[in-house]
């Protein structure tokens, strides 16, 4: 052990604190060999004695008795004791009731804002009865109707846009079944299915198939004879592509 290491343990040594026996032996051996460290240890021991004497002298000191009397008087008067349990529990109850009310109000508002009665009201505002959404399973459609739809999309672009866009639920690319699509379609405006150019309208009569939601460049509208807003030319537009059971894309409809 050297003087620097001795300095780190000299206080503990003088105070008689617990330390490793080997460390204590080394420290004492060093103090025997080094006069300065021996003097340092002596000073620390004297200081410890002084502090112990001071502690012993103060040990018997206590607070005056009248303090206890004052405290007990205050305790009896109950002017300092807060009814902790009563106060805190009533606060919790108030908070719980407030939370319940908030939840109830939120549920009512949410259900009111999403009630289905909004749909016909919006349709009548446009001055015409809204056309029923096309069935997702197009296999029952006649060829004539499909051909007519191909030339004349059912969505009239001259119609004013709804002042408040309807909330469109985010959809996954692959629609799991027709029922889900039909439910989804009630909240969106879509064209009828337009046969793709390389498909005949007859092929749409096949049973089964799958509809997949995709995004296509807005310029694709022009390929099907639909008007394109040139200001939004670079934006994409949603579309549902109808695939047959053979995996071939048969028709497309555009969704707003």
């Amino acid at each position: 052990m050297n003087c620097q290491r001795f300095e780190t343990v000299v206080s503990e040594l003088a105070r008689g604190q617990m330390m490793a026996a080997e460390q204590r032996t080394e420290a004492l051996a060093h103090s025997d060999a080094c006069d300065d460290c021996a003097a340092r240890l002596g000073d620390e021991q004297m200081l410890t004695l002084g502090l112990q004497s001071l502690a012993a002298e103060l040990e018997s000191l206590e607070a005056p008795r009248e303090i206890e009397a004052k405290l007990l008087a205050a305790f009896r008067a109950r002017d300092v004791v807060v009814p902790i349990k009563k106060g805190s529990s009533s606060r919790y109850w108030l908070a719980a009731i407030a939370a319940m009310l908030l939840i109830a109000i939120s549920v009512v508002v949410f259900r009111w804002s999403n009630r289905p009665a909004d749909e016909p009201r919006q349709a009548t505002q446009n001055g015409r009865q809204e056309q029923p959404q096309p069935k997702q399973d197009v296999s029952n459609k006649s060829n004539d109707q499909l051909a007519q739809n191909a030339e004349k999309p059912s969505v009239d672009d001259s119609l004013p846009q709804p002042s408040k866009p309807k909330r469109i639920r985010p959809v996954s690319l692959r629609r799991p079944n027709n029922a889900a699509v039909a439910n989804h379609a009630t909240k969106e405006i879509a064209t009828d299915f337009i046969p793709l150019s390389y498909m005949s309208a007859v092929s749409l009569q096949q049973e089964g198939g799958q509809i997949i939601r995709v995004q296509v460049p807005r310029s694709a509208l022009a390929n099907f004879g639909l008007p394109v807003n040139m200001d939004r030319y670079n934006e994409k537009v949603k579309a549902d592509v109808l695939y047959g059971v053979d995996g071939m894309a048969r028709a497309i409809r555009f969704v707003q």
Binding site: S11, G50, Q52, S53, L58, A63, L71, L72, V81
Partner: protein, 206 residues
């Protein structure tokens, strides 16, 4: 009251908060001494120590529910509250140096509290008084540790709980506080030689 002496501090506190006056009395008698002595040794004023003792137990009556037995003992909690009140009182009376200001430490280190050499005979009453004054003249953060560890015989761990710091911090502050005390209690002629002694000590690597 006899029954209350067998109850531990936590249960006494719980009973007291439930309105048991005997529990308050038992808890007060058990803990008032350490609170009062701590406040007295920190402030050097009996009036402050009395006020602080009263404030600590009034606080316990009002806010005793904040005590968390998982964080320490009731005794440590009371000493922690006492520490806050002592500091507040001393700050209000301009008896406390700015906290955390170590710049004055070196000046204090070079000061001598007395012209006599108390280390030669610490058993005398005058020397005890010198030690008391030297403790009172320590910077607060060192004084707290010296009072708790040396005069109140509180463990390092409990001191750390009271002060809200690490045990290593307690050790280092105690080491530093003792060094400051030694410097204050050392005779003036030895203080002049402190620099040379330090160099000599640093060169000794036996």
């Amino acid at each position: 009251m006899k029954l209350k002496s067998d109850v531990n501090d936590n249960d006494l506190l719980r009973l007291m908060l439930a309105g048991d006056e005997d529990a308050l009395s038992a808890l007060y008698r058990r803990r008032q001494g350490s609170v009062y002595r701590f406040a007295l040794q920190m402030s050097g004023s009996r009036s402050i120590a009395e006020d602080v003792t009263q404030e600590v137990f009034l606080f316990l009556m009002r806010e005793g529910h904040v005590f968390d037995d998982s964080k320490g003992t009731v005794g440590a909690f009371l000493l922690g509250v006492a520490r806050v009140h002592v500091r507040r009182r001393l700050r209000a009376e301009h008896r406390l140096e700015p906290l955390g200001d170590d710049s004055d430490d070196e000046d204090l280190f070079m000061q001598s509290a007395t012209d006599v050499c108390p280390l030669e005979d610490l058993t005398r009453a005058e020397t005890i008084e010198s030690v008391r004054k030297a403790v009172l003249s320590l910077p607060p953060k060192y004084r707290e540790v010296v009072v708790l560890c040396e005069l109140q015989d509180v463990s390092y761990g409990e001191t750390a709980e009271i002060l809200g710091c690490a045990i290593g911090t307690v050790r280092s502050r105690l080491h530093r506080g003792r060094a400051l005390l030694l410097a204050k209690l050392r005779p003036a002629e030895e203080v002049e030689e402190t620099g040379a002694a330090t160099v000599k000590s640093a060169r000794c690597f036996a």
